[in-house]
Amino acid sequence: MKTKQDFPNINERTAQGLSPEGTPYRVLVVDDSMFVTKQISQILTSEGFDVVGTAANGQEGLEKYKELFPNVDLVTMDITMPTMDGVTALEKIREFDGNACVVMISALGKQDLVKKSLMAGAKNYIVKPLDRKKVLERILMSLKQ
């Protein structure tokens, strides 16, 4: 059936979560709050991203990253987490993979840690409360850099 050709749709657009090759971007979500993990995953999967893993602290996130590598395109990293915080995990991930694309997720009031993360190689940051537009915008911007 040639539905698309028969009825061209001016509203048609490609899902934002697809790379130029048409494959989904693969994301690892690291956050100690299951609420935030779910929220980010929902926003991303609805745009065609593939959430390939989640982790509840920096240590777990680092291990997951090594396990998934090189089949992971981006990490969302919470800053305040038990066991290993997000800034340390970022540093260790960048040590392991100098090209790692990490976006920090921060509560307001952590400007110093956000600055430290950017100096340590984080591509971008998103301040909570999270909304769909903000999350997609920052993540796509980081992937296209």
Binding site: F35, Q39, L108
Partner: protein, 158 residues
């Protein structure tokens, strides 16, 4: 207690609740309590330590907590909850996180330096909270989901 400590929490709660729950929020009359007081049933507590010290409670009934969490989850296309399960508790904790995060930024901008503890959630019936030597100011917030009380007991470090 100086009002300048409480205003940032009231403003932050108003902004965050409005944005996250996508609803109208009405601020009730502020009142003061200096002795033990009952807690409504679900209370997220955040501690502060530094130039100022004390704690902030976000206090609501179990039913209100379930409604608030359900609204937050609906925003993520998730089913409402009928009991305060792990996801419900994580939602309320995250709400407390967002409000205190915003309030602390305002207080830091006013020149107060202090650290926060991660929020802890208390649930149960017939609970009371007692603050030695600190008055607690309470700001009720009326939501379609029920009443949420912001209960702030902060003092300057001696």
């Amino acid at each position: 207690m100086r009002v300048e400590y409480i205003n940032p929490f009231v403003e932050a709660a108003y902004n965050v609740l409005k944005e996250v729950l996508n609803t109208e929020v009405h601020r009730g009359e502020l009142y003061l309590k200096s002795t033990s007081m009952p807690v409504l049933g679900v209370a997220a507590i955040v501690g502060l330590a530094g130039d100022v010290e004390g704690r902030v409670l976000f206090d609501m009934t179990r039913q209100t907590a379930i409604q608030v969490a359900s609204t937050m989850l609906a925003g993520m296309e998730m089913e409402p909850i009928s009991d305060l399960n792990d996801m419900g508790k994580a939602s309320i904790t995250e709400l407390a996180n967002m409000i205190t995060g915003q309030a602390v930024t305002k207080l830091h901008n006013l020149g107060f330096k202090f650290d926060l503890t991660p929020p802890a959630l208390f649930t149960g019936e017939n609970m009371e909270v007692t603050d030695a030597d600190v008055e607690a100011l309470i700001v009720p917030m009326e939501l379609p989901q029920g009443k949420l009380e912001i209960n702030v007991a902060i003092r300057e470090r001696a």
